[in-house]
Amino acid sequence: MKNWKLSLLAIAALALAGCQTGSDHSSTASGGSGPKSGKRFKVGVSIPAADHGWTAGVKYWADQATKANPDIDWNIQQAKNPNEQISQLENMQTQGVDAVVILATESAPLTPIAEKLHGAGVLIINVDRGFTKPVADVFIEGDNKAFGRKSAEYMVQKLGGNGKIAILEGIPSTVNTDRVSSAMAVFKASPGIQIVAQTSGMWNRQKAEQEMTNILVKNPQIDAVWASDDDMALGAETAMKAAGRDKNVWMLGGAGMKDIVKRVMDNDALFPADITYPPSMIGFGVNTAAAVLRAGKENALKYTPRHITLDVDLITPDNAKDFYFPDSIY
């Protein structure tokens, strides 16, 4: 009797050992082209768990970019919430990382730990969601104001300055605020545009579907939907199909999900355009960390911009093929 209990433990221990050695193999295998002398740099990549398509894209591009820099020991960790992310960052510090690339689960809760790491001399590369204090050495974000402005300008133009619009917002955050306020500024400047509904779909497909279902019931006529995210656009589409209201209406999502880009490319009436907000920006963060460390942090930071804003592009059937990456997860 007692033996099988012990063997259970042994199996569990072996299973863990298996995971461990597995990762050891991959890191030695990728270490082939490292520097000839000196210590290898250690860098942590701390990102949110893949709870929707865009964050899954972040993980994909983090994997791609770290693989492309095999001379550095990377440690990619995904966190479900700020508490978990703080623990992971603390562990990274104890493991002696030279740099961390952080996409925060939430801005304010992650600021103290980032400040602590920064104070301990760790290079901080912050991507997309910023901190509440300037504790990052480099902050890379998409231009969310341009996201709002360009998407709204396209909608006004396509509607000929007249029409009824429903708006789906994202998770309350600086990213969402910048997008919505810039878009609203454009809409308000066009008197023919009527905002008939405005609510949050939390950048989530199911939530957007629920919200759209309610919006459709209340509004017999909707000409276009500013969905601001491709996951939400797909949720809204489900609601429209279920209500038989997917004709004479179109949507503008956002972020450049490959399925949506494909439909833009194929001239789908529901998706005449999309706007980029590529999760691959995490890859740029990874590359920046690697480049700064290789060149020597002290020196490299002198000529590396503190704040890098990435432009966003309007995707139309004409240029869609340039933004279509069928192998990407997103």
């Binding site: 259970l8 569990a12 863990l16 960790q77 939430e106 809760p109 001399g121």
Partner: protein, 332 residues
């Protein structure tokens, strides 16, 4: 027979030693750094404080699913209090102490509410606290308008990452390794609760109520009062934990704070050998359970294993720890 009893009694400790040994063997010096060992105690200190309180509730035959949402609600009140007082002339220390009291008070009230409905409304603890899980989160979200509430008192964060410097130690940040206040609070709460459980009349009543409520009633124990008391005590501890979290983050994310704490706390209690049927359990087992859960995260973040495996490893450890403790007579 002796083997089995020994395993049953010290199952969690045994599992911890095995996992610890495995980490020493594979990671060596990096794992044994003082700073890393500190992390093992401090990172889940808030969950630890809650789990210790949960141990009493479970021993008394109850369960509380609302603690995670309650953490967010207490944290929201704590930060709002901090911000309200920070604009006045009060000293930072006094502000933090007062806010901690507010947080603990709100938690105790919420716990009292749970306890009263369970004891006098005769509704199952699972159901009442399930309602709390939804309700308390909602209150937090309303207070934070669905987002985060930031503290306007910078000293709060200094408290979050402050503590006692361990003499002669060297951390990776340059200075000595700091044993955080949160870790000390966690250990103190465990010592105090263990004392209450094992050395006081109240503790004996808690065990008696959980083991056999009818028999307890016949021995003139006020069963309902004991039930209300353990929930209120847990609530107060949740308030304390919420303040620790709020300090560490210098803010509270009303949507994300305390998410799954109820599951982590219950897992730690169960790993620690406390019976979900009530009437039997111990606080130090729970402490080991919390450290065991932290060790799993620690292990995974040290390697480059996909973080998504973490849940499976946790599940296996919970099951194994509980299975090896089943050495007692089958129909106890």
């Amino acid at each position: 027979m002796k083997w089995r009893n020994l395993l049953a009694q010290y199952g969690a400790l045994f599992a911890l030693i095995v996992l610890f040994g495995y980490n020493v063997a594979t990671r060596g010096g990096e794992f044994l750094q003082l700073e890393n060992l500190r992390n093992l105690i401090s990172q889940n200190a808030a969950v630890g404080v809650i789990a210790v309180g949960m141990t009493l509730v479970i021993i008394a035959g109850g369960i509380d699913l609302s603690v995670g949402s309650m953490t967010a609600m207490c944290g929201a009140f704590a930060i709002l209090t901090v911000n309200k007082l920070a604009s006045g002339h009060m000293s930072p220390g006094a502000i933090m102490a007062l806010s901690a009291l507010v947080s603990i008070g709100i938690g105790a009230l919420a716990g009292l509410f749970n306890g009263f409905v369970i004891a006098y409304g005769r509704v199952a603890a699972f159901v009442v606290t399930l309602a709390g899980l939804a309700g308390f989160r909602s209150i937090a979200l309303v207070l934070g308008q669905g987002g985060e509430i930031r503290s306007s008192l910078p000293q709060l964060q200094d408290f979050g990452f402050g503590g006692v410097a361990i003499p002669g130690s060297h951390g990776t940040g340059g200075g000595p390794v700091i044993l955080y206040w949160s870790a000390l609070v966690f250990l103190l709460v465990a010592v105090a609760t263990s004392f209450v459980l094992n050395r006081t009349r109240f503790g004996r009543y808690v065990i008696a109520v959980g083991a056999n409520p009818k028999a307890a009633e016949y021995s003139a124990i006020n069963v309902q009062t004991i039930r209300v008391a353990v929930f209120a005590l847990l609530g107060a501890l949740v308030g304390l934990a919420a303040m620790l979290q709020a300090a560490k983050m210098n803010s509270v994310g009303t949507g994300s704070e305390g998410l799954y704490y109820e599951l982590d706390a219950i897992a730690a209690v169960v790993i620690g050998g406390t019976s979900l049927r009530g009437g039997r359990g111990n606080v130090w087992g729970t402490v080991i359970g919390v450290i065991l859960l932290t060790l799993i995260t620690n292990m995974i973040s040290a390697s480059n294993i996909d973080t998504n495996w973490q849940g499976l490893v946790r599940g296996i450890v919970i099951l194994v720890a509980v299975l090896i403790q089943r050495g007692r007579p089958e129909n106890e």
